[in-house]
Amino acid sequence: MSEVRVEGLTKAYGSLRALDDVSLRFPDGGFFGLLGPSGSGKTTLLRAIAGFVAPDAGRVLIGDQPVENVAVEAREIGMVFQNYALFPNMSVAENIGFGLRVRKLGRDEERRRVAEVLELVQLGPLGNRRPHQLSGGQRQRVAMARAIVTRPRVLLLDEPLSALDKSLRVDMQIELKRIQRELGITTIFVTHDQEEAMTLSDRIGILRAGRLIREGRPEEVYADPQDAFTARFLGEANILTGVAEEGGLRLADGTLVHRPQGADAGLIAVRPEHLEVSVAEPACPNRLRADLRQRVFAGAMGTCVMQWQGQVLKSIARHDDLRDLPETGPVWLCWQDRHARALVQEP
C-alpha cells in the first residue's frame, strides 16, 4: 500500500501530445478515478505508472521510490485490463496463482492465498474452470483476484467494467468498492463513464487532450465544476452566457439574472436538476420563457428538453412532478440564486 505520485509527466507520439505536463498525487489507500473522453491521455497515464509507456519527461514515484528505470515486472503493481487478459491455457486457480508462482512462494502458500482470494471475490468453487467456461462477470472477478493476490503496492484498473452489461456493471461497481475498502490498496482506475467514476472514487481527476484540468472529490467537482468542459463532462449542465452588469447578468433575450461571484466572463451553469419547469409564471428570482419541445420518460425520472434562444436546455425532475406539464408548448424555467455556478470557458 503506497502513495503514488506523478510529476510533470509528458509523452508525445509524433505530433500527438498524449500527456502534457501532468502532475497528480494518488493518496495511499484511496480509490482514484481518472476520467476523460477518448484520447484524453488517461490510459496513457495509467500505462506510464505501470511502466508500459516510458515518458519523455517527468517522474513516476510509487511510495516515494522513483520507478522510471524500474521494469514493469519489478514495480509490484497489480493491473486489471479492459479485456481481462486471462491466460487461456491455465485454469482459474493457475491464473490467479501466476503472480505467486513468479515470486516463488511455494505450493502451499500459493494454494492458501489463491483460496483466500477466491473467497474474497466469491468465486470459491470455480478454481478448476478455464476462462472460456466463465461468464463475463466471473472473468472480471478472476482478473481482479489475480491482480490483488500478490498484495501489490498499487492497483491499476483500465476500464475494468466497460465490457459488462449495465446491471452487471452496477453490481460489480459495488463489489469493486467493497474489495478495495477491505484491502486498502491504493487504486487508480480509468474510465470514460462519469457516473461510474463518481460512484466509485474517493477523488477524481479529469483529463482532456493530455492535460489535467480538474481534480478533487466527486461531490466537490460536481457541485463546483469551474469550467465549461467539466460542467458538461461530469453530469449535465445548462450553460448560459450573458453580459456582466451592475445588478447581475444580462442574458441574450434581455432577462436579468443573478450573477454569482466570479462570473466575470459572463458564463454560468445550472444543473438540470435545479431547473424547474412550470406552465404558470413562477415566483422566482431567475426565470426564463422557453419552448418545451420534448418530454423523455426514463422510469423514475423524466427529462424536459427545451429550446431557448437557439439553445437546448434540459431539466430533470421526478416523473410524478412532471405530470401537469403539456407535451409541448411555452413554459417558464426557474432556478434559485444559489444553484447558479460561475464558469470560465477554458480550464
Binding site: 509523452k11 507520439y13 500527438l16 498524449a18 484520447g39 490510459t43 496513457t44 508500459f52 509507456v53
Partner: protein, 291 residues
C-alpha cells in the same frame, strides 16, 4: 500506433532481439546469400576456379545467351509453361477453395480440407512418377478410355507437353487452394450478407467483393506456383522425355553432365532476373488490393 503501445527498444531488448534473430539469419546468410554471391562470381568467369585450372573474368557466359536463339526460346517456353500451369491451377483451385470456405461447414469441411492438402505432403517426385504410369500408352488411362469409348482410341499422353502440364498442375494445385482458402475464410460472412441485402446478385458479389478481398491469397498462391514451375526440370524430364527440354533442364545439364558451371550460373542469373522482375510487377498489385 496511438498511446497504449509499449515503447520501442531499450538496450537490453535489442540484445534479446539479436539473440533470437541471429541463428536463423546467420544460417540463411551461409546457405543462401553467400551462395548466390558465389554464383554471381561464377557467372563472370571462364572456368571453375578449383584445382589448377586457368580462369579469367569474362562476359561470354552472358553473351552466349544472346548468341544463339536457343536459350531465349527455351526461357520463353519455360515462362509459357509457368503461365499455363499457374492459370490452370487458379481456375481449377479457386472454386475448390470457395466451396471449402463457404459452402461446406463443420466436420465435413475439416475432413475435405485435409484430403485436399494431404497429397501436398507426399513426395512430389513420386507423384510425378505415378502420372507417368497413368498416362503412358497402354497404361491405365488408355485402357479406361477405351473401355468407355466405343471407338478405339490411342491415348498416349506421356512425353507430351500435356503430360508435363498435368503433372505440374497436380503437384502445385494444393498450394493455390490452401492460400486462397485461407484468404476466403477470412472474409466475414456478414459482408456477403450485407451485399445480398442490398440486392447484389451472386456474380456481382463475386466480382466486386470476394475477388478483391481474396486477391492477395490468390496472388500469393500464384507466385508460389509460378516461380518453381519456371525453373522446373524434374517434371519435364520424367513426363516430357525428348519433348521435355526446357530452360530448367538446360541449366541442370550444365551442372550435372556438361560441367560448365559458369554457363549454368549465368543462365541461372538471367532466370532469376526475369523472375524477380515479374514478382516486382506483382508487388504493386498486391499492395493495391490492400494487403
Amino acid at each position: 500506433m496511438a498511446p497504449g503501445v509499449t515503447d520501442t527498444l531499450a538496450r537490453t531488448d535489442l540484445r534479446r532481439a539479436g539473440l533470437l534473430l541471429t541463428p536463423a539469419y546467420l544460417w540463411l546468410t551461409v546457405a543462401v546469400f553467400l551462395p548466390l554471391s558465389a554464383m554471381l562470381f561464377f557467372s563472370v568467369i571462364t572456368d571453375v576456379p578449383f584445382g589448377d585450372t586457368e580462369w579469367q573474368f569474362t562476359w561470354t557466359n552472358f553473351t552466349a545467351f544472346f548468341q544463339t536463339g536457343t536459350y531465349a526460346t527455351l526461357l520463353w517456353k519455360s515462362l509459357g509453361l509457368g503461365l499455363k500451369v499457374t492459370v490452370l491451377c487458379v481456375l481449377i483451385g479457386f472454386p475448390c477453395a470457395w466451396v471449402l470456405a463457404k459452402t461446406i461447414r463443420g466436420r465435413a469441411r475439416e475432413a475435405l480440407f485435409l484430403l485436399v492438402i494431404l497429397p501436398f505432403w507426399s513426395n512430389s517426385l513420386v507423384r510425378v512418377f505415378s502420372w507417368a504410369i497413368v498416362l503412358r500408352g497402354n497404361g491405365v488411362l488408355d485402357r479406361m478410355v477405351n473401355a468407355i469409348w466405343p471407338w478405339p482410341v490411342d491415348v498416349d499422353l506421356l512425353f507430351t507437353e500435356h503430360a508435363i502440364i498435368i503433372g505440374l498442375v497436380h503437384s502445385y494445385l494444393p498450394y493455390v487452394i490452401l492460400t486462397t482458402y485461407l484468404a476466403l475464410q477470412a472474409i466475414d460472412d456478414s459482408l456477403i450478407e450485407a451485399a445480398r441485402s442490398l440486392g447484389a446478385r451472386r456474380f456481382t458479389i463475386l466480382r466486386r467483393i470476394v475477388l478483391p478481398l481474396s486477391a492477395p491469397g490468390l496472388i500469393a498462391g500464384a507466385v508460389l506456383i509460378f516461380v518453381p514451375v519456371v525453373g522446373s526440370f524434374m517434371e519435364p524430364r520424367i513426363l516430357g522425355g525428348r519433348m521435355g527440354t526446357y530452360y530448367g533442364t538446360v541449366i541442370e545439364d550444365q551442372f550435372v553432365s556438361v560441367f560448365n558451371w559458369p554457363l549454368g550460373a549465368a543462365l541461372s542469373f538471367i532466370l532469376l532476373a526475369v523472375v524477380l522482375a515479374i514478382l516486382a510487377l506483382a508487388g504493386p498489385v498486391l499492395r493495391r488490393t490492400g494487403t
